[in-house]
Symmetry: C2
Subunit: 458 residues, 2 copies
């Protein structure tokens, strides 16, 4: 029996190559229902797929070829934009950047910003509760959802698309499907909150000498700007150097190197408040106190784009240096500096040759604590070795500090072991109860998020 | 068999007087678990109770006296405040205003503001996903929750109290208990987001002649203040006059009466941005365009309190006029003015003698479309008559306009019929599935939220 192998079966990070007998691409919600009903009737497991940009192989089929891929890519219409309600209703298969454009056309914005926004789909963003670079102001994908439309594992429809900001009429069941990674149903449509477009945006690239000052600077920035900070992104000097070393055309925004950098962006929808003045005052104070040792504010859109290009190229810098082993962890923002220091010590003690690449969304307590193989080392072997020996120590530290082993990537199939080890047993038991109640046949994206008895009973 | 009748068995609005054989008041989470286990073992149904301030009798036991009340009032400790993380972990039985004070002591705030905050408890606030007067900026109670601790119907514990802002490690199961009204488990503790205290607050009482201008004014206010509007409360002239007529010591803030008023409050944590100047500029423009016909800005804390006292006394004004029949509805903010006009026409056509008292949180599309009996009428008879004949027309209009029959009050036992009539069948079916999965014995707050087969199987 031959099976298709290609873009629908290979995950974004090339961690996993699955196989499938069929890729179904329904054009309507009714067709999704029909497909799900027929597959359920015949006991055929299925994998819902959006842009297939999951970082934890949540959207790729298994290697045994028994799972059918249901791609949402043809469900790609913006159904409605209500400017007065500041809401948008869209099909699940809409590309995120297309929704950005649609919102922009009516002078509003959809404030979900991800590296993969040119190819990821909103249904996948919601199924994985995506994070990104604007969480500090606008929250996670979950926080943008007013309503969902979901095809349940038996083919029936749940719909909650009235675009209301307040609705306490029973359990908020839509929440289960947000971050459910397609294991409880297939999101086919969503109603989303939009935001007002900024009238002023101030972007600064700042150097910090002591990592413990990160949280002090964030708090100070929020106090000066009136909680107008939209992004507060940390970049370690290591991460920046890995990138600049391979991309000589990119320019370091500051004259001197420092141990730590912050890409700070604040924005306001107000045309009368002086946000630029507030950031100037912030920097004057912060530099006077040596909280910030050096810094530059983008004076035009080109410079702003250059700062962001640097930040967004950090993962590419890792790839050009042999790729990275990723630890997507979060702790309380109050513990983040300590976590980075402790975890760095662990790496130095146990794998002194490893190159750290630490960066992330520290405004949310989320750091990508990544490790790059030393130059000249076999990348695959190094990562396997590190993952088996040092990663567990990093995750144990995360757990001891009350953190999470998956801040924004999710579980998929690659973090099932971590969930079993570090997940709260009460939560894991509840997850199994919910999976069994909503998908008793176990056909819906089996082997992801909930381990064990969720395989289909053929 | 005699049974206790008193504060634990009578609901806040005196709609329902239940009975009970026992009120249990555990002192620890372990005692809650023990109580739940023992009651489950003997098939005894229980009613979790916080401050018992539900507007839909969600926290009062049944009339037959078979249900045991489990009061959380002795679980009333603030467990921890992490200033750097801007979070607070508290027992479910903490009075909301006590949490306000605890946050204020460390120069932060818990931005959940309710009329009943002197007696309601945080566990109840979360179980009902409470709204209140600051939703337009800070969201519903749900939006403030970082984690929950819940005793499940079998006495086991689910706990998620790590106070993380980002955590995609599996289904976000805590969401089920927020707004679950105690039917899926008993919330015993919660971790909550705190906010920075405002450094500047501007409060204005504004007159509007055309209700359709409400949403235009809100949008304008957000654009001038950079989304710093914390409250945007609508008060109809009727509601204000009902109050002033019975409370001659209260003063109308404006010299001339108008059809509609807005209590607008904006605040910022910034000490450098000129929020007052932004509101001044807003009002100059809005009054120049007759969007606002009259208005006054509170010049000191005393005046600000006077504006808020008026707004918060509106329900008391209704009580002094014979009480009101409440319709807690929401529609899209873009449809709110049309809803109020249409619903008012329906009332005028079908019950011309009824006095409308319309007010609410229009920034969230939520209006309390209340009806007060005409002077000299028997209040009870009028309300029963209206509820049977005109209320269904109001709810039908709400449904036709894509709105909700319960914006913030919840379902309890009093809105089960409305849920059956207007709830999405897919959602109601899912709610039943969830109830059955999590509380198969049906002991947990039976007869609330989910109707039908949730009675205990004795």
């Amino acid at each position: 029996m031959s099976a298709y192998v290609g873009k629908y079966t290979t995950d974004f990070r090339h961690l996993y190559v699955g196989r499938t007998e069929a890729v179904l691409r329904p054009r309507t919600v009714e067709e999704v229902q029909l497909v799900v009903r027929i597959l359920a009737k015949h006991g055929v497991p299925l994998v819902p797929q959006g842009g297939n940009t999951s970082y934890c192989t949540a959207a790729t089929p298994n290697v045994d070829g028994t799972e059918v891929v249901v791609s949402l890519e043809r469900l790609n219409k913006v159904r409605e934009i209500d400017v007065g309600n500041m809401s948008m209703t869209a099909d699940a298969g809409c590309i995120l950047s297309a929704l950005h454009d649609a919102a922009s056309d009516v002078d509003l914005m959809l404030p979900l910003s991800l590296g993969s926004q040119q190819s990821c789909q909103i249904g996948g963003n919601l199924s994985t509760n995506a994070g990104g670079i604007a969480v500090v102001k606008y929250g996670m994908a979950r926080d943008l959802v007013l309503g969902l439309e979901v095809v349940l594992p038996d083919g029936t429809l749940f719909s909650d698309l009235n675009s209301l900001r307040k609705n306490n009429s029973g359990y908020d069941v839509k929440q289960l499907f947000i971050g459910g990674e397609g294991t409880l149903g297939i999101i086919t449509g969503a109603s989303l909150k939009l935001a007002r477009k900024p009238k002023a945006t101030v972007t600064a690239f700042l150097a910090i000498s002591d990592i413990a000052d990160l949280s002090i600077l964030l708090d100070r920035a929020q106090r000066f700007t009136g909680d107008a900070v939209t992004s507060f992104e940390y970049v370690s000097n290591n991460s920046l150097q890995l990138l600049l070393g391979k991309k000589p055309d990119l320019r370091h925004p500051l004259e001197q190197t420092s141990g730590h950098y912050v890409l700070l962006e604040a924005s306001t929808s107000s045309h009368v408040l002086d946000l630029q003045g507030a950031v100037d005052a912030l920097l004057e104070e912060a530099m006077g106190e040596d909280l910030v040792t050096d810094g530059t504010i983008a004076s035009n859109e080109e410079q702003r784009n250059a700062f962001w290009h640097l930040r967004e190229s950090i993962p590419e810098g890792e790839v050009l240096n042999g790729g990275s082993l990723k630890h997507d962890v979060s702790v309380r923002t109050s513990r983040l500096a300590t976590f980075i220091e402790e975890a760095s010590r662990i790496v130095k003690a146990n794998s002194p040759e490893a190159i750290l690449s630490v960066y992330g969304h520290v405004g949310d307590g989320n750091v990508h604590f990544n490790v790059v193989p030393p130059a000249g080392t076999g990348s695959v072997e190094f990562k396997a070795q590190f993952e088996g020996s040092v990663s567990p120590l990093i995750y144990r530290l995360t757990a001891e500090m009350g953190g999470s082993f998956s801040a924004e990537y999710g579980i998929g199939r690659v973090k099932l072991d971590l969930l079993a080890t570090y997940g709260d047993p009460g939560k894991v038991a509840l997850m199994k109860t919910l999976k069994k109640a909503l998908d008793p046949g176990g056909h819906m994206n089996p082997g992801k998020v909930v381990a064990g008895d969720d395989r289909p009973h053929l």
